[in-house]
């Protein structure tokens, strides 16, 4: 299908806010019990981008978080590691050292995270630095200001440029190190600032058409961050884009997902919107920090029948 038809077909497909919220509420009403709950918990752990994005982040802090990423439950290896560790660019080289050889991905926020209110030149620089320091996943922010001004071309071109930068830098690095390095681009829409679901759908399409490997809800610095209805809108956009182009785009809700129940609702929504091909950490990530311990607590409860106090779970 050519781009014009895709555009005409998809962009005149408006979103109904009430219907979206109803559908999201319906899906979060699914009752996931017994063995399937354990499966969902394991899957959720494997999808986590364990995140720390604070001004006070230090080498010591990222060391701890990397250790936790590797061994979420030190005494039980039926729970695997998380998918990635996500930090600010300055922390990347430390993370790369701590995670070396583990297969856990290294994600860096970039492009003047979280506001994105910097010149493109600096954003490019930011991205190159992050990749050179060892990041293989870039979480960029879109220019929400430009989007709200209606300058969609700017937003599109900026994403496209960063995508190119990712490709070129990783190629250079691959040649230099003589090993294949692939860098994935996650595009943060910051849906809390776009506000309407129509905007979210539009921004999702702009991101995907510009080459995003993932689209992501939020930076976590703006409220509301990830919500079920906003995630549904994005998953539906991914599905519609896939149906028209055959391109599979990943999804990452981030911010505000703290409990096992939340995580399971997201996974049920994923399962019943995009289906089994997306039910893995190549196609779905959850940006979170405190979620992990709740998942572990529920995992232990599911196995033993008892809840343990938070003292039994490491705080990193």
């Amino acid at each position: 299908m050519d781009k014009l038809s895709t555009f005409l077909k998809e962009f005149r497909n408006p979103v109904d806010e009430i219907g979206t919220k109803e559908r999201a509420a319906f899906l979060s009403g699914r009752s996931i019990k017994n063995e399937s709950k354990i499966d969902f918990i394991k899957l959720a752990v494997s999808m986590i981008d364990l995140t720390t994005l604070e001004g006070k982040d230090t080498k010591g802090k990222v060391f701890s978080i990397c250790q936790k990423a590797k061994y979420p439950l030190p005494d039980d290896d039926s729970i695997g590691s998380v998918a990635a560790v996500c930090v600010y660019p300055n922390m990347i080289s430390d993370v790369a050292k701590f995670l070396d050889g583990t297969g856990i991905h290294i994600a860096s926020v970039a492009t003047a995270f979280p506001s994105g209110q910097y010149p493109l030149k600096l954003k490019i620089e930011d991205t190159i630095k992050a990749i050179e320091s060892g990041a293989d996943e870039i979480d960029m922010v879109i220019s929400r200001g430009k989007f709200l001004e209606g300058d969609y071309n700017y937003v599109y071109n900026e994403i496209k440029t960063i995508k190119q930068v990712c490709e070129e830098t990783s190629k250079k690095l691959s040649d230099k190190k003589n090993q294949k390095i692939e860098v994935h681009l996650k595009v943060i829409l910051e849906t809390g600032e776009l506000e309407t679901y129509d905007n979210v759908r539009m921004a999702s399409f702009i991101g995907m058409m510009a080459g995003a490997d993932f689209i992501k809800t939020s930076t976590g610095k703006v409220q509301p961050a990830a919500t079920l209805p906003v995630t549904l809108i994005m998953l539906e956009a991914i599905r519609d884009f896939y149906n028209e182009t055959g391109i599979m785009t990943g999804m990452k809700p981030a911010g505000g997902i703290r409990t096992t129940k939340d995580a399971i609702s997201y996974l049920v929504m994923l399962n019943e919107t995009l289906g089994i091909n997306w039910m893995n950490n190549k196609m779905f990530r959850i940006g979170a920090s405190s979620l992990l311990n709740d998942l572990l607590m529920q995992f232990k409860k599911q196995k033993s029948g008892y809840y343990q106090s938070s003292d039994y779970f490491t705080i990193d």
Binding site: V15, S81, E236, N280
Partner: protein, 485 residues
């Protein structure tokens, strides 16, 4: 500390069965009629089963002509001796009591409704029972405010109301009928549907617990004959019937000239209209909810989908993929979307009409799903390439079967929507507010939903045009049929 395990792909994820506990319900082995505040044994009893397993749940009394007469006499005596003299605020008090006690027992009612009727527990828990409760609450509030319905006329009850309800929403339909009748000061003889009598007899227990005076509500069960005894009884002042158009016509004939007031809520073949500017994903949910809610055993089901031709391919594609996620099976599983067909007879009728659709050349679609071995089941189904001339586009199937037709312009959509002998409900899907009102004005149906479907509220009147019946239930309009003109 073991080695680091990076898990990329896990096996396919299933939802384990999450069965609603049914241990807490209490069902008797045998239910007698409930007449004049007491249980009344009859000569004959019939079995009532769980349509999902074909297992017997209870035996229920069959009311013959004599039994019906007893019920009507009891209602008449109660009306004359005390109920018509009861203070309106007291009538309200009793209705509030019923509402509150059902609320306390909502879980038990939900489970029994699902076991006896085959509907998913999710629906009985979130729709049937809460709505029934809200109808009692709503009309309880009206009982002492009837003077404000009409100016310059004193509201007067009719006497004995004979009420006959269908099997698709047993308790809810009972609430729709009993609540306004009592609020207006009438007494009631209500006949349950043949296949789903149980929640009505549970309601009888509540009526005793609420200390409603004897004879004000009388509950009977039986088949079509029992219903006709009630309709033909000369002491009955009003008949309220919900059910098939065929029976409705018969009732209208037999009550003609008898002076009985009559309301009929009959079949439907609702048009659910999807315009090119509709929010498509929301509309898909509306289509699913419109036709597969309660296995399509819904008189106002959106069984005729009218899609604008230029988006028909998109809608059908999305509908197909959405239908693969429908979960058909055990009604008591909290994740079940589509439960069992209510009865063997209904399954036969659905199967017959679906066959006619295939033989008339419409294109059938059913998602992949395995149906349980026992019980009555039908896969969610839709037909595309359907025209107005197909049987499946005209006749009410009353099952999970959708017919998809297309139209070219809004004018054509309205013509096709109205080109039916029914007129109960319709749906409009468009993101243009002006179009909603433009189309709405021209649709001949009692209820028209815009960008949603199958939404009910006790304050909102419900009823049909043409062969879908007359009279309204719900809202102020729902009181009028129970008051003298």
């Amino acid at each position: 500390m073991g080695k680091i395990i990076v898990k990329k792909n896990l096996p396919e994820i299933k939802y384990d069965a999450s069965i609603e506990d049914s241990k807490h319900i209490s069902l008797s082995k045998k239910y007698d009629l409930f007449i004049n505040g007491k249980n009344l044994k009859t000569k004959k009893y019939f079995k009532t089963i769980n349509p999902a397993t074909e297992e017997m749940l209870s035996e229920v009394a069959y009311a013959d002509n004599k039994d019906v007469n007893k019920a009507v006499t009891s209602a008449k005596n109660a009306f004359n001796k005390h109920w018509k003299k009861t203070k309106p605020s007291d009538r309200g008090k009793y209705l509030f009591r019923i509402a509150r006690i059902i609320q306390e027992k909502a879980r038990e009612f939900s489970v029994i409704e699902s076991m006896n009727g085959g509907k998913p527990i999710r629906e009985s828990k979130s729709i049937d029972i809460p709505l029934a409760i809200s109808h009692f609450f709503y009309y309880a509030g009206w009982a002492d405010k009837l003077n404000y319905i009409k100016t310059n006329s004193k509201p007067e009850p009719l006497g004995v109301a004979g009420q006959i309800i269908p099997w698709n929403f047993p308790l809810l339909m009972a609430a729709w009928k009993i609540a306004p009748a009592l609020a207006c000061g009438n007494t009631v003889v209500i006949k349950s549907a043949e296949t789903t009598p149980l929640t009505l007899y549970k309601l009888a227990e509540i009526i005793q617990e609420a200390e409603i005076p004897d004879g004000v509500v009388n509950i009977i069960s039986g088949d079509g004959k029992t219903g006709s005894y009630l309709v033909d009884n000369s002491e009955v002042n009003k008949i309220a019937f919900t059910g098939s158009t065929e029976v409705g016509k018969h009732i209208m004939k037999s009550t003609a000239g008898s002076g009985k007031k009559l309301t009929l809520e009959l079949g439907g073949k609702a048009a659910n209209i999807i315009f090119e500017d509709a929010p498509v994903d929301a509309a898909i949910e509306g289509i699913i909810n419109g036709i597969y809610f309660n296995q399509g055993h819904v008189c106002c089901a959106g069984s005729r989908l009218l899609v604008q031709e230029n988006i028909a391919d998109l809608v059908i594609k999305k509908l197909k993929s959405r239908m693969n996620y429908l979960r058909v099976g055990n009604p008591l599983d909290k994740n079940t979307d589509i439960g069992a067909i209510n009865s063997k007879n209904q399954l036969k009728r659905i199967t017959e009409l679906v066959k006619s659709g295939v033989s008339e050349g419409a294109e059938i679609f059913q998602p992949q799903c395995t149906l349980p071995a026992k019980g009555f089941w039908f896969k969610p189904t839709f037909f595309s390439n359907v025209s107005q001339a197909h049987r499946i586009a005209n006749e009410e199937i009353f099952g999970p079967v959708l017919s998809i037709l297309t139209f070219r312009t809004p004018k054509e959509a309205i013509e096709k929507a109205n080109n039916t002998f029914y007129g109960l409900s319709a749906g409009i899907w468009t993101s243009k507010g002006s179009k909603v009102f433009e189309v709405l004005k021209q649709i001949k149906a009692g209820v028209v939903w815009a960008n949603t479907f199958n939404k009910f509220n006790p304050a909102s009147p419900f009823g049909g045009f043409k062969e879908s019946g007359f009279g309204r239930e719900g809202g102020v309009h729902g009181l009028l049929p129970y008051l003298k003109d």
